[in-house]
Structures are given as structure tokens and as C-alpha cells.
């Protein structure tokens, strides 16, 4: 029951917002992550919700710890892990987790190989995640409906229990492909009901990927020459049509290979090179990729 709040109390939400350091977190998110419009707006909404929740707790309007568990769905390389890391920072800034570390795990880290192995293994991970965020990548692998004696079920039960009873101690984020997560939630309704926020990560479009590649290179003190920029745009368009395309991750791998070719090219040049040449990626470094050997798909 709220009591003893002076009638003329006014709350400056803007000041609360910047006081918690939220605006720096959100501005960084806006700046560092290319695209992802719907994700950013959802995170902004969640941050506002949490801020209001915190003020309400202070005023005594609510006493229960809110459910903060989330699910991130989207194709590979759409920034789920990166956003989870930022989320941990936001939750720490608002005081909803005490330490703010992100423990990223997959099925192998939680599920054991023989009877009695799973529970200690899962609890060990949970102990590390207490006070922070537990990020379970490809969470649907925890549940194997074709094998009813699979030990994943045991890990799921422990997780569900902790998600319910230790809400103030840790936040669980489940991540994976949208369709398989949907299936996973249908088969494990316990998870769906304990997750408050579902965030869907859209694929990047070609311009965004080009922007991402330039940001990635700039971070390593490389840059694309104007011609190489065009080559990169062509590369992205062709790469998308090929199997195992995983958005930003494919781009990162392509850039790693381009750097490899650049190094080879520079070593092969006779005489001395300018320092700037060490920073410049030329079109030949990109056009040597195998995606240019095949005809571009019509799509």
C-alpha cells in the first residue's frame, strides 16, 4: 500500500532516465548497431518499462520483482548475442541484476552425458550466471522430442524452476531461429509463460550489410577503396543468394578472407609500399572470392 507520498511529489522521469545512465546505453546501441529498427524500439520500450517499474518500486506501488526473461528470435548473424550483451548492461544500470555479466551457453554446457550428470552441470552454470544474464543460444536443442529419455528435459526443469523462483537473481535469454523457437515453445509451454519479452531480429538488407562491413573494417583500421566498396556491394548481393548465408557473420568471414588476400597481394608487390596501402582493401581482394565464379542468381 503506497503511503506517505507527499501530495505535491513530482517525478522527473527524464532525470531518472539519464541518471541511470540509460541514455548513454541506448545511444551507444543506436550508434553501434546498424539497422535492427524494430529491435531498438523494443529495447527502448523495455528500458522505459523497467525505469517506470523501478520508480514504482521506490514509491511502494509494487513490490514484486518483474519477470524479465526474454526470447530473441532471428536468423544467424542478426546480432542476438551483441544485443544480449547490451541488455545485460541496461539491466545492470537499472539495478535489475546485481553484477551484469553475460554467460553465454549452449546445450552442451547444460546437459550431461549420463544419468545424474545434468543437474550438477546445469547448477554450476546457473551459479556463474547468478547476478547477471544467462544467454542460451539455440535453446530448442535442449528439448529433443524424438528421445524421451534425453537428459535435456532435466536441464529444462531446473531452468524453469530457477526462472520462476529466483527472478531477482538472474535473467534468462533464450535465442534461436524463429520457427524452431516457436516449435520449442509449443512443446514446452512452461517456457512461454515465463518469458515476458519476445524480440524478433529481422534480416539485414544489402545496404545495412555494406554499412556493417565498413564499420567492421574501420574498427580494425582498414577501409574500402571506392572501387572495393562497389565490389563489396556486389559481393553481398551474390552471397545472399548462396546457401548458409548468415548475415553479419558471413560478412565478417568475407572480410577476414579479404584481409588475407590483401596481405598476400602486398607481400607479392615488388619494392616498398606506402603505410596507407596497409589500410586499404582493393577490389581485387574481394573479387577473388568464390561467389564471383558462379553466375549470380536472379533473386
Amino acid at each position: 500500500m503506497p503511503d506517505a507520498i507527499a501530495p505535491d511529489t513530482m517525478i522527473d522521469l527524464r532525470a531518472e532516465f539519464s541518471g541511470a545512465g540509460l541514455d548513454t546505453y541506448l545511444d551507444e546501441l543506436e550508434k553501434d548497431l546498424v539497422g535492427l529498427k524494430p529491435v531498438k524500439s523494443r529495447i527502448r520500450e523495455i528500458a522505459s518499462l523497467l525505469l517506470i517499474e523501478r520508480v514504482r518500486q521506490r514509491l511502494g506501488y509494487t513490490t514484486e520483482a518483474p519477470t524479465l526473461h526474454m526470447s530473441f528470435t532471428g536468423n544467424p548473424g542478426t546480432g542476438k548475442t551483441t544485443v544480449a550483451l547490451r541488455m545485460a548492461g541496461i539491466l545492470k544500470a537499472l539495478g535489475f541484476v546485481r553484477q551484469g555479466q553475460l554467460i553465454s551457453v549452449t546445450r552442451d554446457d547444460l546437459v550431461g552425458q549420463y544419468i545424474g550428470h545434468t543437474a550438477p552441470k546445469t547448477k554450476e552454470i546457473l551459479k556463474k550466471a547468478i547476478g547477471g544474464v544467462l544467454f542460451i543460444d539455440e535453446a530448442y536443442y535442449l528439448y529433443r522430442p524424438d528421445n524421451e529419455r534425453d537428459y535435456g528435459q532435466e536441464a529444462i526443469e531446473i531452468l524453469l524452476q530457477v526462472m520462476e523462483n529466483q527472478r531477482e537473481d538472474l535473467v534468462v535469454i533464450l535465442a534461436g531461429y524463429a520457427d524452431r523457437m516457436e516449435n520449442f515453445f509449443t512443446l514446452n509451454p512452461g517456457f512461454r509463460s515465463r518469458i515476458a519479452h519476445h524480440i524478433d531480429f529481422p534480416d539485414y538488407d544489402n545496404n545495412e550489410l555494406l554499412h556493417i562491413s565498413e564499420t567492421m573494417l574501420a574498427r580494425q583500421n582498414y577501409r574500402l577503396s571506392p572501387a572495393a566498396r562497389e565490389a563489396m556491394a556486389a559481393y553481398i548481393e551474390r552471397r545472399r543468394g548462396q546457401p548458409y548465408f548468415s548475415n553479419a557473420r558471413s560478412i565478417r568471414n568475407a572480410l577476414d578472407r579479404a584481409r588475407l588476400r590483401q596481405a598476400g597481394r602486398l607481400m607479392a608487390t615488388e619494392g616498398k609500399v606506402k603505410p596507407e596501402a596497409l589500410m586499404l582493401i582493393e577490389p581485387s581482394d574481394i573479387l577473388a572470392s568464390r561467389v564471383f565464379n558462379k553466375p549470380a542468381t536472379d533473386a
Binding site: 546485481r98 551459479k127 556463474k128 547476478g131
Partner: protein, 138 residues
């Protein structure tokens, strides 16, 4: 007789909240916390039984407090001490250790005198509880 050893030995026993804060202090310094228990209160009994491994990579005191709770459940009638191990080079040893649980009743020690050669006297302290076999002392 109240046994004392380690840090804070001149203070009354720490409450759980105080223990939790001390643990968080250890974790913030990157020390690995572990628990040890024994039912032999002799001051020269240095090597106590380990309760699990030292807990590396833990960030929050609550996880460690959960472990302490389990240890108390299993060894409610033993002494339990907390140890914080610093693994940084040149330290590589305990930085902090204190008792977090003691038996409800501590009978204390008997002093025995032994007449040795030439009217010399040898002294020995012996815990009263040590008369009983291990595991049934408290």
C-alpha cells in the same frame, strides 16, 4: 569454550548478511571462495575437509551463499569456515578465512600434564569431543 581463528575472530559471529557482504568483497577482488568443515576443533588441525571445489568464475555472493546453505544442511553440527583464495601470481594463497558456522555447544579442551624425565612437565591440550569417534562429536 568458543573457538576462534582467522579474520574477525575477536568479533561476534557474522550474520548471514555480513557473510554475504564479505563474500561479495572477495568476489569483487577476483578471489575464489571455498568452504571447509571439520568436527575436530584442535587448533593444530589445519587441514579441514573440503566442501566441493573452490568456486572460480562466480560473480555474485548469492550463488556462494546457496552453497553455504547446502553445506550447513549436510554438516549442521560441524565447524565450517570460508576461505578466499587469490590465484594472482606471487600471492597464490588464501587472502581471507573465517568461521561461518560452529556447533551449538563447544565443550572446550582438557589440559593434561605428563611427568617426563627429570621432573619436566609436558603439556597437551585435548578436545573433550575428540574422545568420541569422528562424525558423532557434536
Amino acid at each position: 569454550m568458543r573457538i576462534t581463528q582467522g579474520c574477525f575472530s575477536f568479533l561476534p559471529d557474522l550474520t548471514d548478511e555480513q557473510i554475504s557482504k564479505q563474500i561479495q568483497y572477495c568476489l569483487d577482488h577476483g578471489w575464489a571462495v571455498s568452504f571447509e568443515y571439520t568436527d575436530d576443533p584442535h587448533p593444530r588441525n589445519t587441514y579441514w575437509e573440503m566442501w566441493g571445489h573452490p568456486m572460480f568464475d562466480i560473480r555474485d555472493a548469492k550463488a556462494i551463499m546457496g552453497e553455504l546453505k547446502e553445506c550447513r544442511l549436510m554438516h549442521g553440527d560441524c565447524y565450517i569456515r570460508l576461505c578466499a583464495f587469490d590465484s594472482t601470481h606471487t600471492w597464490e594463497s588464501l587472502r581471507m578465512s573465517f568461521i561461518v558456522q560452529r556447533p551449538a555447544h563447544e565443550p572446550g579442551f582438557m589440559l593434561t600434564r605428563q611427568e617426563a624425565d627429570g621432573r619436566n612437565i609436558r603439556y597437551e591440550t585435548r578436545a573433550y569431543v575428540a574422545e568420541k569417534p569422528e562424525g558423532t562429536r557434536y
